[in-house]
Symmetry: C2
Subunit: 312 residues, 2 copies
């Protein structure tokens, strides 16, 4: 009988609405995983330790296996506040910036966030910094690179030779949810995924790229299109998505110097939408899986811990 | 004892969340008024006639006094659908376009809406057309004029010699409500009115005018400003308002040719905000009270009715 090998590290991404746990072997590969919807919005502060250890017990993880966590678990409303590192931040700063939660029987670390304390353009990220660390481990690039990380609060990140030098957050997904559910547009929306191949989506992206200024009018126009032209609810949603994603790209162009090719870090469906939208802006993409990069980043941070909480 | 004079006309503005009734004398002056929150969202279709006649009975209005109504009461979800007139529409078209609700003991008319059946920029209005009629009665202008009508769905209207030739709707107020209550920004907002003299408001307007493209980033930035700089919730709301109103003006500039002076039609607080914002764009304003214009428009439409349902 083969003796089961204990994992070297427990990698955790703990956000507002989800908890993901990966057990990593010595080489950084995933040997087991668990996901649940026990995000922070459903876990009281005193409950974090209990919830985590219950899962680790179920996964038979010995107490001497350390845990490296990223995500909103390190925010003010999370388990323990892990500070923001201010830009510019090297990836070594990020990797070495995890903080140990005191007074626990197990070594549990939380990754730092990043902040831009700019008076005109203040910004913060928490969780994405770990994926950027993973990006540089898996796919190192010398010189400048731009990473686009689509989501509720999409991040566009300028990195140079392993440092994060600038980033901009666009509340695209958040605005999409708020407008499609709580504005007049809710009467026109289908409850269906947006197809990246849809010409309606692509045309909407183009309109935002060509004239970002009239976004508040173009968003409203979805409603009269329903009333006057019987706009299909699926197309209405594609139009809303294209208008907003196109507006995000227009904003990224205004704020950052965009190269001909950028990195996208995210889930499959959203990455496909952004790839299609970026092609309308003449930009090609290297697509990276968000989960894979989070795991690589957490493993990289564990390697950087002084007591050698290493895994791959 | 002076005998009470029956009104010549009942003017009604019946919207989604409000009902306003004005009794007008021969000269168009208001002799009595009543307001309530019995908007269409709380009134079942079969209830409109009952609700109205109950108020008219309480106001002792004889059955031979006609009623002229504007607002969403004429929409598909209202009492009776009054069609849209397509642009271009003369003010005479609007005045003469009211439809009588059939089979009622009283003459009750509903104003038509306006529509722009443009494939790329479709648009609709319902209720504002009556205020435009009132504008031209109270304050006629030869040649071109632009009217800005701020609200949940702000309208910008191009009129020429008594015709409505173009209009654009911006969902500014709707987006403000959705984002301030249902996005991440809800954690940062005060529940207080926005001060038009606030330098925070004006600076936010300027940022939108200078660079409308990055609106989705500037909106998000309110959140890190709260986290990193302890942004006062009152200032957070002023910033959100300024960003959105500034974005609307940037869009209006992109879509319409704006003169040095425009008309604002609206309520007092919102008109003051827009006047302040427009001054940042180098545009001065003639401010008109929205209710006064609605009344004048309804009276004008009554004058145009063939059976002489006239008042002022």
């Amino acid at each position: 009988m083969t003796r089961a090998i204990a994992p070297s590290l427990v990698a955790v991404d703990w956000g507002t609405s989800h908890l993901r746990i990966w057990l990593l072997g010595d080489d950084g590969s995933v040997v087991a995983e668990h996901g649940s919807d026990e995000g922070m919005s459903t876990t009281p502060r005193e409950g974090f330790h209990t919830v985590l250890e219950a899962h680790l017990a179920a996964l038979a993880v010995p107490l001497d296996v350390p845990v490296m966590m990223c995500g909103m678990v390190g925010s003010r409303q999370g388990w323990a506040e892990a500070r923001y590192l201010a830009l510019p931040a090297t990836l070594a700063d990020i990797a070495g910036g995890a903080v140990r939660i005191p007074d626990l029987p197990r070594d549990i670390f939380i990754m730092p966030g990043l902040c831009k304390p700019d008076e005109r353009y203040p910004d913060v990220m928490r969780g994405e910094e770990t994926q950027l660390l993973g990006l540089h481990r898996i796919s190192p690039v010398a010189g400048d690179r731009i990473a686009c990380m689509p989501g509720t609060h999409s991040k566009w990140v300028h990195m140079k030779d392993g440092s994060v030098t600038d980033f901009v957050t666009f509340m695209t997904g958040d605005a999409f949810a708020a407008l499609s559910s709580h504005s007049v547009l809710r009467h026109s929306m289908a409850d269906a995924p947006v197809d990246s191949a849809s010409p309606v989506f692509r045309e909407a992206v183009r309109m935002s790229l060509d004239c970002p200024a009239d976004i508040l009018a173009r968003l409203f126009s979805i409603r009269p299109a329903s009333l006057l032209e019987d706009l299909d609810p699926v197309h209405a949603k594609e139009r809303l998505s294209g208008f907003l994603i196109g507006e995000e790209i227009a904003g990224a162009r205004a704020r950052l110097s965009l190269p001909a090719e950028i990195d996208i870090i995210g889930g499959e469906a959203l990455s496909a939408l952004y790839e299609a939208a970026l092609s309308e802006a003449g930009i090609t993409c290297r697509i990276h899986d968000g989960k894979e990069l989070a795991i690589a980043g957490l493993a990289g941070a564990a390697n950087a811990m002084p007591d050698g909480a290493a895994a791959g």
